[in-house]
């Protein structure tokens, strides 16, 4: 098996090296920028509950200069990485073999196509997950540096673009691309179609998961919303205890809406507490990971039944 994995890596070394180099560059850049943000020492100044020394203004300028100019492009590239890694490592895996006709040789030599598939798929999936997990961890660190004083383990800040979900997203993309490649048998159409279907699929799963997660939301006073909480909606509490939105309040008390200072009713927020982050992240990871495993198993069936091209 070790030799077989080594051969798979050799066959796909161009894509592997390209994605590995991109990942290493992004990870190093993330740590470098995060290190610079932390070195400024702006953390204590971000606490809004205490008064700050005069030096905070200069520190803030330096901190937000980096936070606004360097962090967004890095996070942008980091958010693209799982899609790129999944597509470019997943799509050619079987599609290129069918396109070039090497499956005729491989499947005539190997009595077990499943074993052949495992030897192909496992190293690439491990590479995709390993590389993007490193990227997710770096994104986690960068977002933590961007949000001093926030406990990232209990915060929805950067949800879906950091931590394990980055690797799981890449795994889903890779699994989908491998499967589509086995069906289509051509690399370029596979990449295009996998990008479209994968993005739509992940967005759909995220939407369904969000609806499910929103059922866990709780109402808190606006002033008590934590920095790590996931904000969902805002309501006004009427004297009789009813909660209403902006439109309803306008119908009930139009005069309050015309006040220049805004409605004078207590505001409550619907949030998912930051403490739920790990549980919500784990649930999303399990759902997406399950989908990826189903797709990988489905590809095994396709490989078993397909003509070699």
């Amino acid at each position: 098996m070790r030799d077989s994995i080594r051969l798979t890596v050799r066959m796909h070394r161009f894509e592997l090296i390209a994605i590995a180099v991109a990942t290493v560059v992004l990870v190093l850049a993330s740590y470098y920028v995060a290190g610079r943000l932390e070195a400024i020492g702006y953390g204590p100044c971000s606490d809004l509950t205490v008064s700050h020394p005069a030096t905070c203004e200069a520190l803030g300028r330096a901190f937000y200069g980096i936070e606004q100019n360097e962090v967004p492009p890095l996070l942008g590239f980091l958010s693209i990485l799982p899609y790129a890694a999944g597509l470019f490592l997943g799509a050619p895996l079987i599609a290129r073999e069918i396109e070039r006709g090497t499956t005729r040789l491989a499947w005539s030599i190997s009595p077990s196509r499943f074993r052949w598939y495992l030897a192909r798929m496992l190293p690439m999936v491990i590479a995709v997950v390993g590389l993007t997990f490193a990227a997710g961890f770096a994104a986690d660190h960068l977002i933590a540096a961007r949000s001093p004083g926030v406990d990232m383990a209990n915060s929805f800040d950067g949800y879906g673009t950091r931590g394990a979900l980055v690797a799981i997203t890449a795994l889903v993309m890779a699994a989908g691309a491998i499967g589509l490649g086995a069906v289509i048998g051509r690399v370029l159409p596979t990449i295009i179609l996998a990008l479209i279907l994968g993005s739509l699929g992940i967005a759909a799963v995220a939407k369904v998961h969000e609806r499910y997660t929103n059922q866990e939301a709780v109402l808190v006073d606006e002033a008590k919303v934590g920095r790590g909480d996931r904000y969902i909606d805002q309501f006004f509490r009427l004297p009789d205890g009813r909660l209403v939105g902006w439109n309803e309040l306008y119908e009930i008390d139009p005069a309050a809406m015309n006040d220049e200072t805004g409605p004078n009713y207590p505001i409550v927020a619907l949030v998912i507490p930051g403490e739920r982050y790990r549980a919500v992240e784990a649930r999303a990871a399990i759902a997406l990971g399950g989908i990826a495993l189903v797709m990988l198993a489905g590809t095994a069936v396709i490989v078993q039944r397909r003509r070699p091209g």
């Binding site: 070039r100 090497t102 005729r104 040789l105 491989a106 499947w107 030599i109 003509r307 070699p308």
Partner: protein, 289 residues
């Protein structure tokens, strides 16, 4: 003799109408080297792919050493060494990597045997596949098939893109290996002259049907060629008529009298012509004197 490869009423249809093979009944005897000859689209590749489990028959069935490749593809592949039509090597890998690949995926693959074949042909093991000539790539494909030590070799037009020397070398390796191992080979090809030297038996396919299945010796001894203006014996059966290289109209006949001895190429062409409907006397089935 035992039939190693067998088809019973085999048919393969692509789409709704196009039959690549139709009601095909064939046997290939153990220990033979059999040539499978036919024009493009006659079903040669489909037949070979069906035996290795790459194509599922639409009708009928087939066996390889008693194993039905539809029901047990893994067992059929384990019995088979297959050389695909076009060289199907991994261009990123070296020749030695291919041997390693085969050793990883094929239980019992004899890497040293395959290496020896390649060494004899001076094919460098450390060369990448895309650096090899077409002939060398075909030889690597053959070495991989021979390294499986499979009792049955299926070769799908491996000679098509080779120059005469490379063809000769390929056949030399194939014949020696098959004779030494006592295995059975079925070789599809267009190159009749090479077949005559290398093969024991001949199967001619046309339009997805078997037009002729005999030993090479019988094929040559049992046919004569009669020219347009020559007197034709009354007791021979006409097979098909075709033009000679000089434009003269020739007729292939079954029998031992009249005309001149047919070459293997003329036997094949005559049967292919018959398969296309170029029979000189389709109604009577005999050539008049």
């Amino acid at each position: 003799m035992t039939a190693v490869l067998e088809t019973i009423g085999l048919g393969k249809r692509y789409g709704r109408r196009r039959w690549a093979l139709r009601d095909l009944n064939l046997t290939v005897e153990e220990g033979s080297i059999t040539a499978l000859v036919g024009p493009n689209g006659s079903g040669k590749s489909t037949l070979l792919k069906a035996w290795i489990g790459f194509e599922r028959p639409t009708t009928g069935r087939l066996q390889i050493r008693g194993v039905d490749p539809v029901r047990d593809r893994a067992a059929a592949i384990a019995l088979t060494g297959y050389v695909p039509q076009a060289p199907s090597l991994y261009r990123e890998l070296t020749v030695d990597d291919h041997l390693m690949f085969a050793a990883c995926h094929r239980p019992g693959f004899d890497r040293s045997l395959a290496r020896r074949y390649l060494d004899d042909l001076s094919i460098p093991l450390d060369s990448r596949a895309d650096e090899l000539s077409g002939g060398q790539q075909a030889q690597v494909g053959l070495a991989l098939a021979l390294g499986t030590r499979a009792p049955v070799l299926l070769l799908d037009e491996p000679l098509a893109s080779l120059d005469p020397l490379a063809r000769r070398e390929f056949l030399h390796v194939l014949v020696n290996a098959v004779r030494a191992a006592g295995s059975t080979a079925l070789l599809s090809s267009h190159v009749i002259t090479d077949i005559e030297q290398a093969c024991d038996s001949l199967i001619v396919l046309g339009g997805g049907r078997s037009l002729l299945a005999v030993s090479i010796h019988e094929a040559i001894a049992g046919h004569r060629v009669v020219g347009e203006d020559e007197p034709r014996p009354i007791d021979v059966i006409a097979v098909g008529s075709f033009p000679s290289a000089t434009g003269e109209r020739l007729t292939l006949v079954r029998g031992s009298g009249g005309g001149r001895a047919a070459t293997l190429e003329e036997v094949v062409i005559g049967h292919l012509a018959a398969g296309r409907g170029h029979r000189p006397d389709r109604a009577a089935g005999k050539v008049a004197a």
